[in-house]
């Protein structure tokens, strides 16, 4: 455990000694801030119209602000995660520092978990910074706490899957650009896979929609924690990291 932390700590700091963390976080917050502002003003306008024309109750804060906000956040993470993970192993291999890790008394599993933890911590930092939006909502209105908590949880799981994919691709190449591009492509693939499920047959449709990363997020967005979704996300992350282990181990044999 101490070894995992040693590696995670170094990698987390490395994000902040290079411009990566600042650019990713700044970009993320700029887009999120714009989205939040836009969602909020649109929601207010709609509510005002509902009241004016006595059309009954408008959408709740959860439906009108929280869900679209987190939906957008998940898309943004799809774009940003490749930048977060691409360096993790590719750079170590290019700089030959992987040899330091591999000749230290730490296991490959500890190295991989350390890397995963460092990227998860960066995502966590980004998520903590977005707490300002729900806090604003609580100060000015009365949103439901539940869906906000589960949305964060779902986002962590979903982003964890992207990170796991990103680490896998980063372990396959010395070239960060290649790693990043493959991560983005694969993330998009698992995102859009559910589209095909509608036209596929009954069995394949189920399989494809089960494999869809975004499909498993829907429950979280509505404030529901379903064990199926949790198990899916955890297995997805686990398989990604396991394959990374196989890839890195195979390099030793060549």
């Amino acid at each position: 455990m101490r070894n995992i932390w040693t590696i995670a700590r170094r990698d987390f700091r490395a994000y902040f000694t290079s411009p990566i963390a600042y650019i990713v976080i700044a970009g993320f917050l700029a887009i999120m801030g714009w989205m939040f502002f836009w969602n909020l003003s649109h929601f207010n306008l709609q509510n005002l119209q509902y009241q004016q024309f006595r059309m009954g109750k408008g959408a709740s804060i959860t439906e009108g602000i929280i869900r679209p906000l987190f939906g957008n956040m998940n898309v943004i993470f799809l774009f940003l995660v490749p930048f977060i993970t691409m360096r993790l192993f590719a750079e170590e291999r290019k700089q030959h520092t992987i040899e330091l890790l591999m000749t230290s008394p730490v296991t490959l599993t500890e190295i991989i978990l350390g890397k995963f933890l460092s990227s998860l911590l960066l995502v966590g930092t980004m998520l903590v910074l977005t707490l300002v939006y729900p806090i604003t909502l609580f100060l000015t209105g009365n949103p439901d706490l539940g869906p906000i908590v589960t949305s964060y949880l779902g986002t962590i799981f979903l982003t964890g899957c992207y990170l796991s994919l990103g680490i896998l691709f980063s372990s396959m190449t010395e070239n960060q650009i290649v790693a990043g591009a493959l991560t983005f492509a694969a993330g998009l693939f698992f995102w859009l896979i559910s589209w095909a499920s509608q036209s596929a047959g009954a069995v394949w449709g189920d399989v494809l929609s089960y494999l869809s990363l975004i499909g498993h997020y829907n429950n979280f967005g509505q404030g529901i924690i379903n064990s199926t979704d949790v198990v899916f996300y955890l297995s997805f992350i686990g398989i990604g990291l396991f394959l990374t282990h196989r890839v890195l181990d195979s390099f030793r044999w060549r």
């Binding site: 101490r2 070894n3 040693t6 590696i7 170094r10 490395a14 000694t17 290079s18 700089q95 030959h96 520092t97 992987i98 040899e99 330091l100 890790l101 591999m102 000749t103 230290s104 008394p105 730490v106 296991t107 030793r252 044999w253 060549r254």
Partner: protein, 314 residues
Amino acid sequence: MIQVSHLTKMYGPRTAVQDLSFEVKSGEIVGFLGPNGAGKSTTMKVLTGLMPATSGTANVAGFDVFEKPLEVKRNVGYLPENPPVYSEMQVEDYLDFAARLHQIPSAATKAAVAGAIEKTGLGDVRKRLIGNLSKGYRQRVGLAQALLHNPKVLILDEPTVGLDPKQIIEIRQLIKSLGGEHTVILSSHILPEVTATCERIIVINRGKIVAEDTIERLTTRLKKGLIYSMTVRNPQPAAIDSLRRIPGIKAITAEGARVGIEIAPGAEEIRDRVVETAVKAGLGVLEFSAERVSLEDVFLQLTTIENETTTTGA
């Protein structure tokens, strides 16, 4: 401290190291000598547990490299060909990280880092970013990393590459001082390096050991013949031919005014006859001197002999 037996490593169909067996005693400094691509780095990578061998066994500090890799890694300090340093880190932070990786207790980390900085002369650059350091300093940071956890065995792959002459001398002295307490294996394709630091050398070529001995014995054993050089005033071919007839002469080469003379081993006593004959033949001897057989020649001899036998064998 290190036992290697019948070690073979293949990269796909290419054999990098073939049936290598050797032993290194505790406290010894051994030099791995060989041309580029001879299999030095590969052997070292197997010894550090970085790479598994295709067949054969390697035992380091009492642990089998394949069975107990973590134990081996705990007892080995390794400086790879390219120093494994993070360019975006400060020297001190990097060494602190390496100390943590080697599970040095946190209370002892500071002392270990300070000790390694002291030994490798990194005091002036401890707060600098490694990426901004010269190749020589980066090499030293790599060396400091290898020394940090005070390992029983040090494996140094070309430790003085990229250093300036003054630094080379310093590092050699450092390595020499490590002997006795640590067991050191270092590789090099530069001979003076090995002569200056090692007690014993293992010459490897094309993945095989071609010689293994102390430096003195290796040079004497491999002196195939004695080579002398003579400068003459009138290099007439007929006169040079008369030298060839002297019994005990292995070869005569004439190149302008310079005549190279190779005398068979044990026939040194014919030297005066050579000069006598040369004078009588009217060559006009200006200079007669011995050409010392250096380790460089020995090395070239060893590695070229090996090449010839492998090409004729194939």
